[in-house]
Amino acid sequence: MSNEAAGSSSHWEKSKSLLYVTLAIWAFFSFVVHWFGDALNGEAGSFPLGYYMAGQGSQIAFVILVFWFVTRQNRLDDEHGVSEE
């Protein structure tokens, strides 16, 4: 019983760390990038990077981030023996 409790508490600690990393990447593509949207757009005639990030780049980052998170969390559950059969 105590072993199981210790096992699941380390599982939860690691789940929290994974969450913090995920939220940090999420915040970068949600807020930081677009705060500098105007600067990223650059000179007239150059590739509109600020526009790109708002219209497409951040969305691609979110798709990759969710699947990365899901894979890591599933692996974490397996390693601690708390996943479903």
């Binding site: 999420w26 105007d38 790109y52 708002a54 219209g55 798709v63 998170f69 479903e84």
Partner: protein, 610 residues
Amino acid sequence: MMKLEGGFIQNLGRVYGIYTLGFLGFVILMAILEQAGVSADAIGWMFVGFTILIYALIGVLSRTMQSNEYYVAGRQVPAVFNGMATAADWMSGASFIAMAGGIYLGGYPYMAFLVGWTGGYVLVASLIAPYLRKFGCYTVPDFIGTRYGGNLARLCAVIILVVASFTYVTAQITGTGIVASRALAIPFEVGVWIGLAGILFCSMLGGMKAVTWTQVAQYIVLIIAYLLPVFWMSNSLDYGLIPQFAQFDAVLRVQELEALHQVGTLKPTAAAAAEAGGLKALSVGINDAGDTLMAKWKFFTLVVCMMLGTASLPHVLMRYFTTPSVKAARQSVGWSLVFIFLLYFTAPALATFTKLSILDPNLATGIIGKSVADATALDWVQKWSNVGFVKIIDGNGDGILQINEFFMKGDIVVLATPEIAGLPYVISGLVAAGGLAAAMSTADGLLLAIANALSHDLYYKIIDPKADTKTRLVVARILLLVVGAAAAYVASAKLTGILGAVAWAFCFANSGLFFPLVLGVWWKRANRAGAVAGMVGGFGAGAWYLYMVQFAGMTPWLGLDGLRFGMIGMPVSLVLMIVVSLMTEEPDEETQKMVDAIRVPKGETVTNNT
């Protein structure tokens, strides 16, 4: 019956594969009929009629009298298909009809919606959905009521859910009415009720089970309808095979044209703007990100509100209750985002290519800078002028159409683009069917979220806990009918524009529900008093601020307009919830164990819903 059901789940790929081919076959048949001289009106009728018939058929075939099928589709929807159903549930009439037009008229700042409505799914996957799935609830207030205990917490959650979802659903039924009235050439008020009838056919008999399988079918129609015209335009304008990647050269070209047409400097006169009513002339550059602190702040706050709203809207969260496992719920959030992404990263491309078509004087479709008489004679200008979506006012009387003399409603970017770009009418019919699918699927999810919360949480859990399954399911259906009729009544009275109301729903949801949901999983110390204070205080503060800014003429604080009132509600909710929780007793041991149990996928669900 169980055996047949299992067979259906195993054959989902084949069933929807055949369905998709059948739908493409139908589109080709319509194209042939158009060539053979069948009228545009008849083709519009067939597109709308045929697709509604299919959805209703799926709804009737999925009828059920079992509560776990009615409430959570029997918890056997595979991750990928639940992803498609969620995408249809999520992408509303606003996403389909209004979003590209919003980007067209609003430029860069409007794209905060794109960022917010996709990034919110990172929060759904990591903070909330898998844990609620493990909890085993039927509805979102079911989680609040069981985690915090007591009827008061449950009731608060039900009220917030009803306000947020009802605000949202009236907008969807309005969208259904607009598309149905255009495609069938009937009055808007009649279109609203026809749309409602279609919506109820999909959900009344089979609840969540029926809505799931119609939503998958609706996703397939709406995504084909959205992508096809954009691919066609990008290729016919010679910008490249894949419009989503080709759009950035077109953005640069549009910026050259904006300089030519003086977009942003040549604004409509006050008299012309008044005459145009709700229609707008293009007066913002395509890529004016703005380097002021206020521009950055407005983008930031809109993204925050939409993201945290996404993670607290009950009709989205409840879709993840239908997967077979916690793992599948997680994966399903990823698939939802993929299917949503397909439409959202196409929207700016659609806006850009439409803008190019209208602004470029070298193209046959270009009208700005050409003669007013020629523009007025165009078929699509006449057709959309007749229904009040387009207006040309030659303010300076020089006979040339300037940028500040062409007024439009944003919705035409999606609805009229096939005609503007000179595509055959069959594409317009397809787009109408897609818009209808988008509005209907979201309306279905919302009506079900409201009716289920009222029947399961208010009626069964609070009013009559001894009610048997049959009575509960009858009550659920009666409530569905009543809520649907109320929403259609509000929509037919034309009380709100489509998107204003949609953004409000997000702010109602995040003000009242975001922190009680997240902290319920992530903070064991959160207790009943804290949750109730967080819900009442956050929702109350947000609603009060919206009222003051929108209706009482108060100057917005820090540029936080009616679309962003979650920025007031959320901090109030968070602070109240933490302070009140800490000031009152910590939750009992049973509740603490419950939280431990939802934090690991292994083991039985917490609630024992029957």
